[in-house]
Amino acid sequence: MADLITLTIDGRKLKVPAGTLVIEAAKQAGIEIPAFCYYEGFSLQAACRMCLVEVEKMPKLQPSCTLPAADGMVVHTESPKVADARKGMLEFLLTNHPLDCPVCDKGGECELQDMVFRYGAGESRFTEIKYHQDEKQWSPLVYYDPARCILCYRCVRVCDEGLGVGALGLTYRGVAAEITPSHGDHLECDECGWCIDVCPVGALTSGTYRYQSRPWEMNHTGTICTHCADGCKTTLSVRNGAIIRANNRDRSGYNGEFLCVKGRFGYDFVHSGERLQSPMIRKNGKLEPVSWSEALAAVATKFSEIKARGGKFGVIGSTRTTNEENYYLQKFARQGLGTASVDHHRTGDVPALIDALSGKTDALAAMADLYQAKAALVIGADLAQQHPLIAYQLRANYRHHKMAAYLVNPGASREEQYAKKSVHAPPGKEMEAVASLAGELKGHEDLVVIFGASLRGEGVRQLVSFGDTLGIPVKYVCLVDYSNSRGAMDMGLVPELLPGYRSVREAGMEPGLALDEMLAAKDLDALWAVGANPLESAELASSAAFVVVQDLFLTETARRAEVVLPAQSAYEKNGTVTSVTGEVQKLKAGAKVMGTKADLEIMGLIAKEMGLNLGIWSPDKVFEEIRRTVRGYNIPLPVVATGGAAQTTPVNGRVPAMPRPEHIRPSGDTLFTSGTLGRYSKRLSSVMEAPGELFKG
């Protein structure tokens, strides 16, 4: 711990660790020093000169964003000299800045507007002709208006330091200086749009949001991104039921401001013209729209009939539906339909990890651990492409704490930019490469291991044994691909396990069919796919099977269905999801699409129609039941209720029945693909980098 020193700011004595920047010290005391270029967590610029303060015994005003607090320092942040300097800076800034706030896209949430309001002069002495450059479009998603740019370099830094992309730079000089994109006239980057978010003014605007709304005309709903498993918090800005923007400017989640292209722009599938908005029943070989009551009755009747004659059900759940829905679905299948054939598209061997860690408490890493660990070992994962937030956390850890990263991958990945060591090893040969790193890994205080789906079953066990030999605390992340992949596993959407990693035998059942087996079973009587599209790349062997599909789109599976029920996406409903690091977060409905229902409600209505008593189907009630009955999910309610992330603590013991690892099939998604949803996002495919490639560096 650094020594504490005492300084005085505006007459208040403060104790802060030596070396604290004056601007930060002031913030701790509730004194706000205005700044444009100072951006917490990123390199210091001292370029905007808004944060100048008066320090006694120093002849010149000092930039508080770079001035380390020293013992006995006396700082004034509101003296006449300081006020005059601020006013001067703002006057300078406005000389070439357009004064058309009413038509600027940033109006109402512009930091420059706010600063002028608080610190500026009411009028400008500038009567010359403004220097002007026209606006440019850099990509389908990013526009740049140099005239509005105040050159705070935030965009340059988040791109370079935050993402490791470095697609933005500064060109020309003097009053003509402006930001330049990677290729002179266009951008080739991750298209994450963070530059747009951090822009304090209307210089960088989003191709998807610009000129559509004022911030106060939208409702803002904080929820969780539905694309990958990293679980970024995102705020949906909704007008007339339609999402028109997503960002996380309030830094409410564990992702801070970070979002990737999918989180920030990939919500457009919600309002795709191809969304299903009416239930459909196959009549004379064709799917025809029908009413909800007709469709639900048809399903209930058929399910009851098959159940009554002891027919064979196959139930496939989703990696994007909520924990409540998954829990309810497996309960429906096992208790309501009496089948043990329950599964979902598995993308990583979480049960193997939990089993291997038996007896070790606290060995599953949380998202925050990735930022704090002293060393990280990444095995078989192109993080920048597949797990953008994890990639960001590790990079930030390196940037702020010089974390040592070790990579064992089949090819190049962006993490190599800063990795201490990178070994290329093909799938199946990872453990040899990992073993060769033992000597170096032992030298660190602690380690976090992040591994992909190429390690499963025995491989995971070997990995954990290897970790045990290092003699340092080791935590693990088993990568899974979709927003609630982890939750689907935890909720027992596998033939072998009940929720909370209990054997189905506890419920007096033998494990049923796995997903592939259901599709291959010639005598299957009914297939129920809730938010899943198993027929995308496989055939259904049983031609007589009664297929019911709940989905957003007319997928391959829906096309084969007898009954199709239009469901809602994560952005339209409430509930909880569990991230790749096992952290439970709350979904909140933002958007609305006419004619659709949440999967939970659909299931509840079918149960009711069938006369089953599976309990009340409201998300809150089901979540209550989960907390009571699912091991590890007895998480503190206030944390989740207030929008925080609570890590589950799954069984600390052997997993009684292991789901078979051969059924794991990683999705292979990149930064610009997202399974079925990605297909219906025009934006993800509109950028020139799409669809992206894995292990190309």
């Binding site: 905007c48 010149k60 058309d100």
Partner: protein
């Protein structure tokens, strides 16, 4: 080449080997024949501390503009640091009015090389770069030839004159930027980047070129070192004025009869410089003002010119000795135009990094352009002064100050001339009203 005849009033130390018109640069043979590299041999027998002490005693102050004591700067380098240490020669020579470093680059490259090797010895540097402005390509070629000779003679390379230490020296070309003369911007440029200045601290002595301890000095500063080592710091100090050791190259330009670069002791009287050395004002006109040390220095009115040209005296008089560029203006000089042209320069050269300099220089230039064109109003005059004050001391690097100082000094000292320009305007211009910020 020397482009002007020497003056009998000069004290030729730095230039003592040069003969007018010096058609060819002094090569290694000739340099060595005239005691060249003897100072280096002597320095190699001295301890680094002894070299630095000698330079400190000489009260040699930086010739690039700021006048920082060279010996003190060298002593800031942590010689025990495990990082390599570097020498960087500032040969950007961009300050308007200044054309002295080229005298050395063009005519006596070995003097600079010798100074660098001695400095390298003093701080334990293993590499050095001479950052030469891009327009000086011919001088880069001259330096390159001399460096090649020095390698052949074993003065540079793996084993400097058998001392067992290595020192490599290279030239590095600039590509058109005044700001790259500012030492930290220069280092950025050396690293292949835009010439945006760096945050200070850390200063170059701690983290300079490629983030290693570095000393940056002007060409003339390094070039003074061999004579200091040969004859002792006390000898050098005694040549000049108190705390302003030695001689320096003054570049007389503007309205004098004999413009040129002359070597004169520090503290030489400015009027004598104009009249004795420079042969007086051209065409028998009266002196109006002098910019004493390059365009950044506050102007001196004729009546302020009876002054000793050293760092401290000029500072006391509210100006600066700067880079030795003495621009002499006669009574016919149009001060409005002069200030406009000055500001056009700074607006063109502002790197754009910080707000007050980027916007301030551009704004001032526009106002002065109007004033010069006779389209000014009386409000403009206070505004020029106020805007310059809004910049002064608040910019990221000293370029902002360098732009603000001439503006403040010229508009204050020659205000009547600006007022007259406005009064005599041919066109009638209504005073512009202040504008509301938001135009609806």
């Amino acid at each position: 080449m020397l482009y002007n005849e020497p003056s009998p009033h000069e004290t030729r130390i730095l230039t003592r080997r040069l003969v007018y018109p010096q058609a060819e640069p002094i090569g290694y043979e000739q340099y060595a024949a005239q005691q060249g590299y003897e100072a280096l041999r002597k320095a190699l027998a001295m301890t680094p501390d002894a070299i630095i002490d000698e330079v400190k005693k000489s009260s040699l102050r930086g010739r690039g503009g700021a006048g920082f004591p060279a010996g003190m700067k060298w002593s800031f380098v942590d010689r025990k640091s495990p990082k390599p240490k570097y020498i960087v020669v500032n040969a950007d020579e961009g300050e308007p009015g200044t054309c002295k470093d080229r005298i050395i680059l063009e005519n006596e490259p070995h003097r600079l090389i010798e100074g660098c090797v001695i400095a390298a010895r003093a701080i334990g540097a293993e590499r050095g770069w001479i950052y030469i402005r891009g327009e000086y390509r011919r001088m880069i070629e001259t330096m390159d030839r001399a460096i090649a000779e020095a390698y052949q003679q074993g003065i540079l390379g793996a084993n400097v004159l058998g001392s067992g230490t290595r020192f490599d020296l290279y030239t590095h070309t600039g590509a058109g930027s005044y700001e790259c003369g500012e030492e930290s911007a220069l280092l950025e440029s050396l690293e292949g980047k835009r010439g945006n200045p760096r945050l200070k601290p850390p200063f170059p002595a701690t983290s300079g070129a490629f983030q290693c301890p570095t000393i940056v000095n002007n060409v003339e500063t390094f070039s003074a070192v061999p004579d200091i080592i040969m004859n002792g710091g006390d000898w050098y100090a005694a040549l000049g004025a108190p705390r302003n050791g030695g001689t320096r190259l003054f570049c007389l330009s503007g309205h004098v009869n004999k413009p040129g670069v002359y070597e004169l002791p520090m503290g030489y009287n400015l009027l004598r410089m104009i009249n004795d050395v420079g042969g007086g004002i051209r065409g028998g006109k009266k002196l109006k003002a002098v910019v004493p040390g390059g365009s950044s220095c506050p102007i001196l009115k004729a009546e302020e010119c009876d002054i000793a040209m050293d760092f401290d005296t000029l500072a006391k008089a509210g100006s600066m000795l700067g880079s030795g560029g003495v621009i002499i203006l006669d009574e016919t000089t149009d001060m409005v135009k002069f200030l406009y042209r000055t500001m056009k320069f700074y607006a063109h050269e502002s790197c754009g990094w910080c707000i007050p300099c980027r916007e301030g220089t551009a704004w001032l230039k526009k106002i002065l352009e109007r004033l010069d064109a006779g389209v000014g109003v009386s409000k403009d005059l206070d505004m020029v002064d106020q805007l310059a004050q809004s910049m002064f001391g608040r910019t990221f690097c000293a370029l902002g100050d360098a732009a603000a100082m001439p503006a403040m000094s010229i508009i204050r000292k020659f205000r009547a001339e600006f007022e007259e320009r406005i009064r005599s305007a041919q066109v009638f211009i209504p005073a512009p009203e202040t504008r509301p910020l938001v135009v609806l």
